[in-house]
Structures are given as structure tokens and as C-alpha cells.
């Protein structure tokens, strides 16, 4: 048993957000220490601020509108002794959980969990640590996610990175941008998610096929990018971010301003924008030609509560120009082999900001409307409508043969899509023990492509779903079950020769799962989730040379849907202030797994022979293990250990599946020190990351180069804050690949052409600005 008493400061979950006056909130759970079960009807109050809440059937409570960064919190329940805690809120979303025990002769213990307790699912959900978010978000979304075990990245060069959950990416995972499914031709290997991490205050990953709630094709998992709600906003608040990265001489600036607009209507708003500018990156031995980027993003939000409906309008735009390594745009197989033999790029251009062809130009726009209202006996009803526009132009190295100036400025392939999404539903409680959600979704998408790879097409998806959770206190298990029916239709219109083709898919996704609260420190989850994915247009109808991948791709119009059976067992141990351990074992049986198989002979074109691939189906089994551990070695020193392994097997060919991430492990120390002179809230993390060579590759499918050797990288992060006048400036230093190791990563499609980046050293500034409040 732990003998803990009043904790003075806890949960330094430092986003580095200083006390935002009256914007603080805490929420958590109250547990009965002897049974480990949650307590309904306990009260949690802030003694001197006259704020409080009562816990619900699951023992959860939320207190909003807290004005001070320190608070005395009291938790009480009939039969349990009162407990007082001095709470130091450095984070506007602190968790504070209580463990109460019956009053007997010994002292009570108050313990606090560092775990977040949001929607409970039978597959684990992990959040990106706030310091990692601060130090990585200027790179791209995927870079912030890689800190979670089981998440890897599929790269095309250093600037284009797609997140992979347990080996699955593209349209096998769902990315939610502010609650809306991100639609941007994500079937493409070199199409990275068009989301600005600066608009998010929380980024999390659900590591399992949560298809019923989020979408039938969430076969690997769901990534949620969420911005802070404005509900608690009572005064003007701003955040300014800025930073510089040495590798690439990259500069960025981002700012965000939130303010109440018309108090009478409860109208509040936020406006946000980011700008990034960088030039050529370098490896330990040479610069990479044409690897700069330009990016500008902005968004605005309006929130109000007309007639009790909590309503939000959100608009965001994402625009970037990405240089693509010049040496990666080769012509044909012969050129590719020459490049591989050469072992490094043809030229070392040195550093320049100049951006030329080949390049990618991406524009993404999201407009969202959402409203919800809680009705006493019924539940929370919601409705949302969103429009997305996505345009991606791929500019090949060769300016097109044309004397017509207008044509020579055009990309070789230009993908464009407009997607409408409608969602509605009701979150409800049925009696005391059952709570769930029933809803519908409708998506209509129109795609046109300028270029000869895939046809134009329209997609329509209609879905209904129902999910329920049952928990009867004091029984320690919570059960959930869900069902979702989706109908998807694909209609194509134009190809080299005009024709029309329709495919229609109707399938169900379902799940059963359980969450077992063993004791206050240990949670076990087990879930069986079924998800499915209709083949995308590239898999069905590709017929052409894809310059981006230097291959000729052939689709198969008869391909059927993939159906995935996902089993997951996971545990979360949280012995606060001593040990936290998350561990997951999973099995993903994917029937009808779609992949590309090489076809011989290569296609002969006027440019020479190109490797040719045809889409095929097989049955696959993907299984693996992830774990994240933090162990306290001494006061203020934590030991970290994290790792993942994945086995991806083609059951028909009886061989491994190509292009899957290798095993990796990382370990290190985190040292925290409250004050060093003027520096406050200091956190230093040293991390050694080792990536193993991928030996699970197929024998019969040849790759142009063998998987790269294993490599080890040393990384360092240091975060601190200093007072500047009445505000607090947060500073982060991060060094990636401190030893300037030369290496190649198997999951980078450009590993044939060059090494990965050398050392990247960056400095990040964050200045939160808030008006002083009257105490």
C-alpha cells in the first residue's frame, strides 16, 4: 500500500501554459481504494473558489472555470473521510483523481493518477505528451505521433511523412481533424496529412480498429487532432510560437488569439495562423538538392450557444510547397539502378532556400459546422456538416515540352477532390447502467484528376451505427458492443477512353470488448473489432505510369473489400510517482488484403522499361506488441523504455509482406528540476533510439536494394520557462540525431537515393499571453 499524503504539486503536464485566468479546469475520477471501483455521488469542491462537482455513475467529475492556478481541493463521500489537496494547476486540462477509503483507524491516502480518462474504449488510446508536442509540432503531424509506441512513419524523403499505426496507413486509418474525417487522396503513398499541428491542443491515437464509432475503414486505428474548446474562455488570450531549426535553416512562426466577442450571446472566437520556411536539408555528408519547403496555414473558429445549442463554426486552410529531392525523380529502372550503385545523390548543391521542380503543391480547406445540445432525460444530440477541398499538384522534374507558357507551369498530375460530410446522432443513457451512442454519417466525394493515372470518380458513403457500454457498480467490468452498417458506392467517369463503371459495397463493422478496472492502478482492456475497407480507385482502376513512384501501376476492377478482424489485449499500469506502463498485444487478420505484386516483364515505354505492379488480394495476418514504460529511479529522475514489434505475414504466399516497419526500441532518462536560477519547470530528456534491420521481407518479391542496416540515434530535449515581465516564456531545445549518424530507414521510399537527415537542432519559443484577472 502506498502511504501518500497531501501532494503539493502534481501533474506537471506542462504544455507550458501558464495560469490562463478562469480557463482552468480539472476532471478526473474518484475511486474507492478498497475495491478499486468508481464512486458515484462523491463531491469534489474547490474550497475557496466555490466551485464543485459531483461524480457520475462512472465516478467522473469535471470542474470548469477555475480562476487560480493553485487550489485546495476537497473530495468527500458519505462514509469516507474528507481529503484535502493543494493543487498546482499548470495545465488547463489537469486530471485529478481521488482514491477514497472508508474511514477506519488509519490515515487515508490520496493518490493522483497521471492517466487521462476520456472516452473509455476496449482498445488503448494514447496521447502525445505535451512536451513532445511542443518540440515536434513545427515539423509535421506525423513527427509528433512517432513518440507513441506502435506508431511509425512512411516517408517520401524527409518532408513527406504519413503516420502508420501497427503497419497500416493511408485509407486503412482515419485521421480526424477537429472531428471531421480528413479526406485528401490519402491512398497515395506520398500524400501526407494536410493538418497543421499548431491548431491542436491535443493529439491522440486509438490503437485499434475503432470502426463502429469513427468509420468502417479505421482498420489500424484513429488519430484525433483536437483543438481546445472555447467554452471556458472568459478573457482574451493569445499564444505566440516561433522557432528555428538548424538543418534546413528553417524558420517558423505561429500565433493564436482567442477571445469572447459578444458576451451576451456567449459568442467566442479564435483565429490562428502558421508560417514555415525552410531550405535544403543535409545528411552528415552532403546537402539534399531541392528539399526546402514553404507552408502557410490559418484557421478560425466561432462558438456560441444559441437556444442552448452549443454551436461551432470552424474554418481551416493548409497550403504548402514541398521540394522533392531532385535525385529521386529518376527516369526508369536503369536510372534507378544507377542511382543505387552511386550510393549518394549526383550533386551536392550546398544550402539554398531555392525551391524548384520536382515539387508537390498541396492545398486543403475545411469548413465545418457543428451543433449539440444536452437534453435532460434523453442525452446529447449532435449534428455536423463539413466541406473539404483538397488539391494536390505533382510537378515533375521536367518542365513539360511546350512552348505554351501556361501549360509549362502546370503540374504533371493534379488531384482534386471536394468532400461533403454530414454526421448526426445521440449520446444517451439507458437507465443507470447503460450509455452509448447512435448515429448516422453521410459522405459525398467528387474527385477529378488531371493526368493519366486514375479516372475521375464520385464516392458516396451512407452509414448508421450503434454502440453501447454497460457497467453496473460495483461489478468491476465494463462491457461494450457496437454495430455499424456502411454502404459505399464508387462511380468512375473518365479515363483514356471515356467509360463509366460502378462498384458498390455493403458491409458491417462490429465490436465487442471489455474494460476491467482491476484496482485503482491497473486497467485491462480486451476488444474484438471488425473493420472493412472498400478498394480505392487507385487499386481498382490504375492504368499508367506514376512518376512519383517511377512505376507502372495496374489496377484490378474486380477487387473486393478488405475485412479486418482486430483482436487487442492491453494493460495500463499506473502506480503514480513510481511506475507507468502501457502494453498492448494485437492481432489483425485481414482477409482480402490488397497489395501490389510485381509483373514481369517491365512495361516498355519510350522512356525505357518501368517496373510494373498489379494490385492483388491475399489474406494477411498482422500481429505485434507495443509497450511504453516510465519508471522512477530517484526523486526527479525517470527511466523510460519504449518499443514495438510487428509481424506482417501473407498467408497465401506464405511469406512476409513487403514494406512494413521493423522492430524498434528506445530508452533514456528524464530529469526534472523545478528551479535552476531563473529557469523554471525544467525537463531534460535523453533518449537512445535503436531501429532494427527489417529481416521479415518476402523472398519472391524483389526490392531494388536490400533493407538498410540497423541504426541508433541519440536524441535530446530540454524544456524550461522563464519569466518575462508578467508573462512566462516557454523555451524548448531539441536535438535529433545528436551524433550526426548516417543512416537509412527502410520505410522511407527515397532510401534508394540518399541517407536520412543528419543532426537536427531546433529551438522553440512559446509565449502565452493573457490579461491579468482581478483576484
Amino acid at each position: 500500500m502506498f502511504k501518500l499524503y497531501v501532494l503539493a504539486t502534481l501533474l506537471l503536464l506542462t504544455i507550458g501554459v501558464q495560469a490562463q485566468k478562469c480557463n482552468l479546469s480539472i476532471h478526473g475520477q474518484v475511486i474507492d481504494v478498497s475495491t478499486g471501483l468508481s464512486i458515484e455521488g462523491a463531491t469534489v469542491i474547490l474550497v475557496y473558489q466555490h466551485l464543485g462537482a459531483t461524480t457520475d455513475a462512472d465516478g467522473h467529475y469535471t470542474i470548469d472555470g477555475i480562476c487560480h492556478d493553485t487550489a485546495t481541493v476537497e473530495c468527500s463521500f458519505v462514509g469516507c473521510k474528507h481529503r484535502f489537496t493543494l493543487l498546482d494547476l499548470k495545465n488547463s486540462k489537469s486530471e485529478l483523481n481521488f482514491k477514497l477509503s472508508e474511514e477506519t483507524t488509519h490515515l487515508h491516502e490520496v493518490s493522483v493518477f497521471a492517466s487521462k480518462v476520456p472516452l473509455s474504449t476496449s482498445v488503448p488510446r494514447q496521447f502525445v505528451d505535451t512536451l513532445i508536442l511542443a518540440n515536434r509540432r513545427s515539423v509535421n503531424l506525423t513527427e509528433t505521433l512517432k513518440s507513441i509506441s506502435g506508431i511509425t512513419s512512411l516517408n517520401t524523403g524527409s518532408s513527406i511523412a504519413k503516420p502508420m499505426i501497427h503497419g497500416l496507413t493511408g485509407d486503412r486509418i482515419i485521421i480526424l481533424n477537429n472531428g471531421i474525417i480528413q479526406e485528401g487522396n490519402q491512398w497515395g503513398d506520398e500524400h501526407a496529412p494536410e493538418i497543421d499541428p499548431f491548431l491542436a491542443t491535443s493529439i491522440s491515437v486509438i490503437k485499434g480498429a475503432e470502426a463502429v464509432r469513427y468509420g468502417s475503414n479505421a482498420m489500424g486505428g484513429v488519430i484525433l487532432v483536437e483543438a481546445e474548446k472555447l467554452n471556458d474562455l472568459n478573457a482574451l488570450k493569445a499564444d505566440v510560437y516561433s522557432g528555428y531549426s538548424l538543418n534546413g535553416n528553417g524558420l517558423y512562426g505561429s500565433a493564436q488569439l482567442s477571445t469572447p466577442i459578444i458576451k451576451k450571446w456567449g459568442l467566442k472566437g479564435r483565429i490562428q495562423g502558421t508560417y514555415k520556411y525552410a531550405g535544403n536539408l543535409n545528411t552528415p555528408s552532403y546537402f539534399l538538392r531541392n528539399t526546402g519547403l514553404r507552408e502557410y496555414n490559418f484557421s478560425w473558429t466561432l462558438q456560441a450557444k444559441p437556444l442552448g445549442w452549443d454551436t461551432e463554426v470552424f474554418y481551416s486552410q493548409f497550403n504548402n510547397w514541398l521540394g522533392i529531392l531532385r535525385d529521386a525523380h529518376i527516369g526508369n529502372v536503369t536510372d534507378l539502378e544507377a542511382a543505387i550503385d552511386r550510393g549518394k545523390p549526383l550533386t551536392d548543391p550546398g544550402f539554398t532556400y531555392h525551391l524548384e521542380r520536382p515539387a508537390q503543391h498541396v492545398e486543403h480547406e475545411l469548413t465545418k459546422f457543428k451543433t449539440e445540445k444536452t437534453f435532460r432525460k434523453i442525452g446529447t444530440a449532435y449534428f455536423s456538416l463539413a466541406r473539404q477541398f483538397n488539391r494536390r499538384g505533382e510537378f515533375d522534374a521536367h518542365i513539360p515540352f511546350s512552348s505554351d507558357r501556361e501549360i509549362s507551369g502546370l503540374p504533371e498530375i493534379r488531384f482534386q477532390l471536394v468532400s461533403w460530410q454530414v454526421d448526426g446522432g445521440l449520446e444517451h443513457k439507458l437507465g443507470r447502467h447503460v450509455s452509448g451512442k447512435v448515429g448516422f454519417q453521410y459522405i459525398n466525394q467528387n474527385n477529378n484528376t488531371n493526368g493519366t493515372l486514375i479516372p475521375d470518380y464520385t464516392t458516396e458513403i451512407q452509414s448508421v451505427y450503434l454502440t453501447e457500454q454497460w457497467r453496473k457498480y460495483p461489478f468491476p467490468l465494463k462491457f461494450e458492443a457496437g454495430l455499424r452498417i456502411d454502404k459505399k458506392t464508387i462511380s468512375t467517369f473518365y479515363r483514356k477512353f471515356p467509360f463509366q463503371l460502378n462498384r458498390s459495397f455493403l458491409n458491417t463493422s462490429y465490436n465487442i470488448g471489455t474494460i476491467y478496472q482491476v484496482n485503482p492502478h491497473v486497467t485491462l482492456r480486451a476488444g474484438y473489432n471488425v473493420a472493412w475497407r472498400a478498394p480505392n480507385v487507385s487499386e481498382l482502376f490504375s492504368e499508367g505510369l506514376h512518376h512519383g513512384t517511377a512505376s507502372y501501376q495496374i489496377g484490378d476492377p474486380n477487387i473486393q473489400a478488405e475485412i479486418g478482424h482486430n483482436f487487442s489485449v492491453s494493460s495500463e499500469l499506473n502506480y503514480e510517482d513510481l511506475l507507468s506502463l502501457n502494453c498492448q498485444v494485437y492481432l489483425n487478420k485481414m482477409n482480402g488484403f490488397i497489395y501490389q505484386e510485381p509483373v514481369y516483364p517491365p512495361t516498355l515505354t519510350i522512356r525505357g522499361a518501368f517496373p510494373t505492379f498489379k494490385y492483388k488480394q491475399t489474406d494477411a495476418m498482422l500481429s505485434g506488441l507495443d509497450f511504453d514504460m516510465k519508471y522512477k529511479l530517484a526523486p526527479a529522475i525517470w527511466f523510460n523504455l519504449r518499443g514495438s514489434t510487428l509481424f506482417a505475414y501473407n498467408q497465401v504466399q506464405k511469406d512476409w509482406i513487403i514494406f512494413m516497419p521493423s522492430d524498434r526500441v528506445s530508452t533514456g532518462l528524464t530529469i526534472r528540476h523545478k528551479n535552476i536560477g531563473k529557469l523554471m519547470n525544467n525537463t531534460l530528456t535523453l533518449d537512445v533510439a535503436h531501429v532494427f534491420q527489417q529481416n521479415r521481407t518476402p523472398d519472391n518479391i524483389s526490392d531494388y536494394a536490400p533493407p538498410p542496416k540497423p541504426y541508433t540515434l541519440l536524441n535530446l530535449d530540454f524544456n524550461t520557462s522563464i519569466d518575462i515581465g508578467s508573462q512566462q516564456l516557454n523555451i524548448g531545445f531539441s536535438v535529433n540525431n545528436l551524433l550526426n549518424t548516417a543512416y537509412r530507414e527502410y520505410m522511407n521510399r527515397f532510401r534508394y537515393f540518399s541517407d536520412e537527415m543528419g543532426t537536427q537542432a531546433a529551438i522553440h519559443f512559446h509565449l502565452p499571453i493573457s490579461k491579468k484577472s482581478k483576484t
Binding site: 529518376i330 480547406e365 466541406r387 488531371n450 483514356k496 499508367g544 515505354t605 519510350i606 522512356r607
Partner: protein, 179 residues
């Protein structure tokens, strides 16, 4: 519900980005046809074309055989190469584009070893380096072989083997018969 309608309208109005009109008909120029002409001072010509009018995939390319009937041996031919985009009507002459961006292009003729030809490039680019649209080929003996024609984009013209550098715009093999 007027509120909802207002919101709907505002979403459409606010969304700035609209689709651009695209015309599949105006696809960019490409090389569909490469023609090599071996000529003699008197005006005697032998030509062979490599044609793939519908581009990659679809119908297979149609490849002529270059047939030479040299009167004497050895004999100096002037080899000229031209490019067309025959997917358009009328056919577009792409050779001019290559000529305009001469510093970015290099054309290399690679006969099979058994033909024993001697090749000299006549034309130069803007920077005085080889271009290759006009070359002198000294043909000796008779026999069958192949002629590989490669057009490189942005090669390293100073490299010992420029063929292994840059990007390939054209890489075709034409059968050759010398009588």
C-alpha cells in the same frame, strides 16, 4: 431552421477554394515518336521510327528496323534524330523544345558492340558541350545489331559516363540491319 440554412449558405460562401476547370484534351506534350534518319550527301535516307502513340501501356510500341545499304565501306552517315507528339492533331514537333533547352539535354547513340560503328557528335549546346541531335556515324562491314537511342534530361555532361546521370526522357532500342 432558418439558422441552419444560414449556416449552410455561409459554409458555401466562406469556402474559398473552388475546383479549377480542367480540360482533359489539353494534356501536356510528350514524346510519342522518335525518328532517326541516316543520310548521305547525295540525299539518300534511311529512317526508322519508334512509335507509341497511346503512351505507356495500351497498345505496344511499333518499332521500325533501320536498314542500311552502304555502297562503300567504311561510309560516313549523318544521323539526325527528331521527336514528335503524335497524340495531338496536328502532330507537334518536340525537337525544337529540346533544341531550345540544349544545355539540359544530351542525346546518346549506343550501337551494339558487333556493329563496330564510330560515332562523333556534331552539334553543341549553348555552353559548348555535346547535344547530339546531329551526329556522324561511320559504318563499316555488314550485319545485324541494335541501336540504343537515349535522351537524357539534366545529365552531368562532364561525367565519364553521362548515361548514368540525370533523368531519362527517351531510352529506346531500334533493330539495325546493315546489308
Amino acid at each position: 431552421m432558418a439558422f441552419l440554412a444560414l449556416v449552410f449558405v455561409s459554409i458555401v460562401v466562406v469556402s474559398c477554394k473552388k475546383e479549377d476547370n480542367h480540360d482533359h484534351g489539353s494534356d501536356q506534350e510528350q514524346i510519342t515518336t522518335a525518328t532517326i534518319t541516316f543520310s548521305l550527301p547525295g540525299g539518300v535516307n534511311a529512317t526508322a521510327s519508334w512509335r507509341d502513340i497511346d503512351g505507356a501501356g495500351g497498345n505496344s510500341p511499333v518499332i521500325d528496323t533501320l536498314v542500311l545499304n552502304p555502297i562503300t565501306t567504311p561510309l560516313n552517315y549523318t544521323a539526325t534524330i527528331s521527336f514528335l507528339d503524335e497524340s495531338k492533331t496536328p502532330a507537334l514537333n518536340v525537337t525544337e523544345e529540346v533544341q531550345e533547352k540544349s544545355d539540359e539535354h544530351l542525346l546518346v547513340l549506343q550501337p551494339s558492340a558487333n556493329l563496330n560503328w564510330l560515332i562523333v557528335t556534331n552539334d553543341k549546346d549553348k555552353n559548348g558541350k555535346d547535344l547530339g541531335l546531329n551526329q556522324t556515324v561511320t559504318v563499316a562491314g555488314s550485319g545485324n545489331g541494335t541501336l540504343r537511342v537515349v535522351l537524357k534530361h539534366e545529365p552531368d555532361k562532364n561525367a565519364s559516363n553521362p548515361l548514368n546521370t540525370g533523368e531519362t526522357d527517351l531510352d529506346i532500342i531500334i533493330p539495325v540491319r546493315v546489308n
